[in-house]
Amino acid sequence: MSLLEVRDLNVTYGADVRAVRGVDFALDAGQTLGMAGESGSGKSTVALSLLRLLPATATVTGEVRLGGEDVLTMGWGRLRAVRWAEASIVFQGAMSALNPVRTIGEQIREPILLHEKVGVRAARERTAELLDAVGVPSRRMAAYPHELSGGQRQRVMIAMALACRPDLIIADEPTTALDVIVQAQILKLITDLVHEAKISMIMISHDLSVLADTCDRLAVMYAGRIVEIGDSRQLIEAPRHPYTKALSSAFPKIGDPASRLAPSGLPGDPPDPSAIGAGCPFAPRCPEVFDACSTREVELWPAGPPDSARESACLRVLPEFAEVPA
């Protein structure tokens, strides 16, 4: 049984803003999954819905089975126990995700004291261990968030996420606000820690290159749906969905002169989530669009060898449309 199974997840804000429209995926213990997409594609919404952290204006349906239990129908008490202890989140923008008037030590201790039956001294020792593991000197425990650099704050967020030894860590754009060198350090840190402790991870980013290196599998989201999912290496090297192709070609291949000349970047904008029409939502921007794309409903179909768990939501992977010209 997988650690995490998401079935038919739908999130609607208010009456008509459908941010997530039927998402399914599964994650085994120790596996890492990357979720890529533009802003507004619904990836952060999916992440927050896994622990029911969306605001009250959001209606969530479907199933989110974490360790066998459905998070969406759990009682509040059980949910609060599950939060952080079984799955934790590394938020983006650590400056605002950390409480400015509490020391980082207190903030890391807080979930430990909440979820585990230990005293303050034991919690403090564990906090010191965690800080050392992420590369922040443990004597800085009494520092306030604004006294640390951006990279250190993100390390603190990671330490905090590991505090209760969760089975799953969700990293929501963990490196977005950081400069490139620090970004690489943080990514390496996360992946090392996750592999050592055999924790599953979902990493969310709009930056495909970041995900390609760090995750086993990759899911690409567009307009609230997964449009392609599969092994990350294969997906980047041989994308089976036009959107994935556009995303991966947005990053120039070093040493390949052709990519410097070819225009990358996709014209147009993602569709308005309150007004998504029939057919494939990517059709208006797709460079390989044909007639049936605007009328046929798309879903994830197998797009690779039978046991590769590779799927793509493009009509072109169906045998009847495989040779249609663009």
Binding site: A85, S96, A97, N99, E110, H115, G151, Q152, D179, I181
Partner: protein, 355 residues
Amino acid sequence: MADPVAAGLAGEVADAVASPAGPRWYRSGFWPYLASKLTGAVISFLVMLVIGFTIFNVMPADPVSALTRSHPTSPAQMAALRKQLGVDLPVWHRFLNFVGHTLTGNLGDSWQYHQSVSSLIADRLWPTVLLIGSSTVISVVLGLWLGIRSGWRHGSVFDRLSSGISLTLWSVPTFWLGLILLVLFTVGAGPIPSGLFPAAGMSTPGYQGSWLGQVGDTAHHLVLPCLTLVLVIFAQYVTIMRSSIIDELGSPYLLTARAKGLRDDEVRRRHAVPNALLPSVTVIFLQLGTLLAGAITVETVYSWPGLGFLTFQALQIPDLPLLEGTFVVLSGSVIVMNLLADLLYRVLDPRVRAQ
């Protein structure tokens, strides 16, 4: 930021250097901060003295004629009086005398009480402190609690009700409210019996009871004036706390707290409130100006023997030295309180300390 990579690395290096020992609030640039705020307060104080001097010593036409209005005086006597009061000296000389006297505690003599102004003020200081102190404590507790509740669930019925009541109470003249309460609880109206609370003063004249009895008697007299003040000023604290909480509501760190598995009230209490509390704390001190205004009228209504009532009594004639004395003392207290507010904010907010 010139070079983000270099800045990031530099930051890491700087943090790796051992931080100096010492209490946190003391460490980073406390003395310069204190010095600048202190200088500001001293300048405000001097300006206040200039304004006071202008109002009381420059503007009045001729203090001697005002003083001797009701007594027939010969011109020679008036000239002698002028010399005695020092009003025949040039303005700047009088101002320097004034500043010198004020700083040494000599505020002149009251025209109607034949007593030094400073001794009168000293006598009346404690009742005002008692009244303002108790009113502040109660208003703060009540206001903060209401403000937090209203802000956390803003837009709810509770919120709208408490906002409406606060707004209405702000529009009520303090003295009028005091009079209404006075009539209600001393003369009685409808079901409320008369004589529930004493009508005037701080203690029953000729009270002979034990020390504890005297405290109780004072407390009994304190109830109505305190209630009046609280009703008028607690609305300020509700407003400031409410908007502070609303400001914090959208903050990402609250989402982090919720994700950790904290209950809603824990998130509010442990994370939102401490952040929202910061601006409120300084407001408590800064509200002193409003409180003093309220105290003047409330003390007058209830004949509570404090500085406010003294100011009212000084308006008879008018007794200019006494009025000047109360002006200087009251304004000076507000300046001191503003200074304390600045210092306290710095001690409490870790982010301000970094400046």
